[in-house]
């Protein structure tokens, strides 16, 4: 899986309450989640995420199991999230909703152009190539299908 986008740098230990607050969970309207994503961190951030690659610190997505967190990030237009580690439920949720994740500890400057190749396991930051851990074949299959729903539509 290939992709590219502009870097948006975020700190470590971003929890799912910060990604999408509980007060926005009483709906199935995905556009609401997309427009309020990261609101309690920076209310202006949601509008800067189209075509972005989030480069965050460790333990991204810790906290609750709310899948709305991964959906909100993807719906806001984020191409991928890069972090040294992810909380495990967020990791599964992101793959399941078709949001690529890359486990890597990379330097970040806002606006850097980031390219990635998940099958070959590398990320390029402003032209400099970093080798990263590849996802399991099944996760790549789920991502390629566009998420677990589409994966099961095909495999059922």
């Amino acid at each position: 899986m290939l992709g590219e986008g502009r870097a948006v740098c975020l700190p470590a230990d971003i929890d799912t309450d910060i990604v999408i607050a509980g007060r926005y969970l009483r709906t199935k309207d995905r556009s609401i989640w997309a427009s309020h994503v990261f609101e309690d961190l920076d209310p202006a951030l949601a509008h800067r995420l189209k075509g972005a690659v989030i480069v965050a610190g460790k333990n991204f997505g810790c906290g609750s199991s709310r899948e709305q967190a991964a959906i909100a990030i993807r719906e806001a237009g984020v191409v991928a999230v890069i972090a040294p580690t992810f909380a495990r439920i967020f990791f599964r949720n992101a793959i399941n909703v078709g949001l690529p994740l890359i486990e890597a500890d990379l330097p970040c400057n806002d606006g850097n152009i980031i390219k990635f190749n998940l099958a070959q396991g590398f990320v390029e930051v402003s032209g400099k190539r970093h080798k990263v851990r590849t996802l399991s074949p099944r996760m790549q299959e789920i991502l390629s299908a566009g998420g677990l729903v589409d994966y099961w539509r095909k495999h059922r």
Partner: protein, 403 residues
């Protein structure tokens, strides 16, 4: 030799496995999204061999028309597909699954992060998101990476005013919020033998706050007796010598009452360091500390006195509430000026029934104090029930007295 996770999942650490799920459950929040994924998968029949349940606990009763309409759809689905269905007021999913359903050795998957609570019974219990749950409804299986394990060695007995919650905050403080990511915790040592099921559920519950995938106790005589009283036969699990990645040790007699300060569960301080901090609200409840023994402890401390700050008490289940009514514990709590909410998650996730105002401060017995979780601009401190009770009487953070 294997860890308990390796034994239950029947594979060595770090291996990816597909496993049949014995019990799978979702709540009102995650269930709605799982139902949408289920429909989008084009699925129609539930897998045969898994026990499926839906619990209404997160925003129950519904807070507005939108929620009520979404819940109506999920309720109809649960009933028409013959899942076990637990409606408004029955209580929190983890508590109800722990009232005699989950058995040692089972694989239990919940669409809620605190599903780890059920590791208290020697089950491999973990949380997933909604789409994973929909796939389990469809297939009865899920994939898992067998975790490596950290041993939390527990020795001694509680001697002062500390309780299981204080140990839980102590180990999260030591490990950090990601200290156990991708790993399981196993609670072992001489000290676990004297811990009740309620206390074990507190310790398992907080394991996800250290990032853990599961938090397991080996089933022993305490487990077997608890389950027998609820009509279940279970056998003890005998620990084997095995390899842990870390083995932090805790002597219960050294544990003192602690508070987790905003906005992280791992920023833990002794209650004494925060004594005198004014409070706007005290909340006693949740899948961490809303059980009967918690309410009884609260009642013992506030009985015959008056709380000095609004104090919201939410029993974890209807049976907890019933027991508290029958024993008079509930009357003691209400006569002391506390108010009581519908069994369920209460204000823990900031959706209803006790949301905080800007700059308000709450002392809560829950498990998360993330920024804005209980309301925009509100601050959450986490403590034991005894600390919450002592603090409610004073209207400020107060160290509990030795029982």
């Amino acid at each position: 030799m294997s860890t308990l996770s390796e034994r239950i999942l029947n594979a060595p650490a770090n291996e990816y496995v597909d496993r049949k799920v014995d019990r799978a459950f979702a709540c009102d929040g995650t269930g709605m999204l799982a139902l949408e994924a289920w429909k989008n998968m084009g699925a129609s029949h539930l897998a045969d061999e898994t026990e499926f349940s839906i619990f209404f606990d997160h925003i129950a009763p519904a807070n507005n028309t939108t929620t009520a309409t979404l819940q109506h759809e999920l309720r109809e689905f649960a009933k028409s597909s013959f899942m076990n269905f637990s409606d408004v007021g029955c209580g929190i999913c983890h508590q109800l699954m722990g009232e005699g359903a989950v058995l040692p050795g089972e694989i239990v998957i919940g669409a809620d992060s605190h599903s780890v609570t059920l590791g208290a019974f020697g089950a491999f219990a973990t949380g997933v998101g909604a789409t994973d749950m929909a796939a389990i409804w469809l297939t009865g299986e899920t994939w898992l990476r067998v975790p490596e394990s950290i041993a939390i060695h527990i020795e001694g007995r509680f001697t002062g005013a500390a309780e299981a919650k204080d140990l839980a905050l102590a180990y999260v403080g030591e490990l950090g919020t990601d200290g156990a990511t991708y790993q399981a915790l196993e609670f072992v040592g001489e000290g676990v033998k004297d811990l009740s099921i309620d206390e074990r559920m507190v310790l398992s519950n907080l394991s996800v706050e250290a990032g853990a995938k599961a938090g397991l106790f080996y089933a022993d005589d305490v487990t077997v007796r608890y389950l027998r009283e609820r009509g279940q036969n279970a056998k003890p699990q005998i620990p084997e010598t095995c390899t842990y990645t870390r083995e932090p040790e805790f002597d219960l007699s050294d544990i003192v009452p602690l508070v987790a300060v905003p906005h992280r569960v791992d920023t833990v301080k002794p209650v004494d360091d925060l004594a005198g901090l004014p409070l706007d609200q005290v909340f006693v409840g949740t899948c961490t500390n809303g059980r009967y023994s918690d309410l009884a402890r609260l009642a013992r401390i506030v009985k015959g006195k008056k709380v000095a700050v609004r104090t919201i008490v939410v029993p974890a289940s209807a049976s907890v509430l019933t027991q508290a009514i029958k024993t008079g514990v509930l009357a003691d709590i209400v006569e002391a000026g506390c108010t009581v909410g519908t069994p369920g998650c209460g204000p823990c996730l900031g959706a209803h029934m006790g949301v905080l105002g800007e700059e308000e401060v709450c002392l809560s017995t829950a498990n998360r104090n993330f920024k804005n979780r209980m309301g925009v601009g509100g601050e959450i401190y986490l403590s034991s029930v005894a600390t919450a009770a002592a603090s409610a009487l004073e209207g400020e953070i107060t160290a509990p007295e030795v029982a």
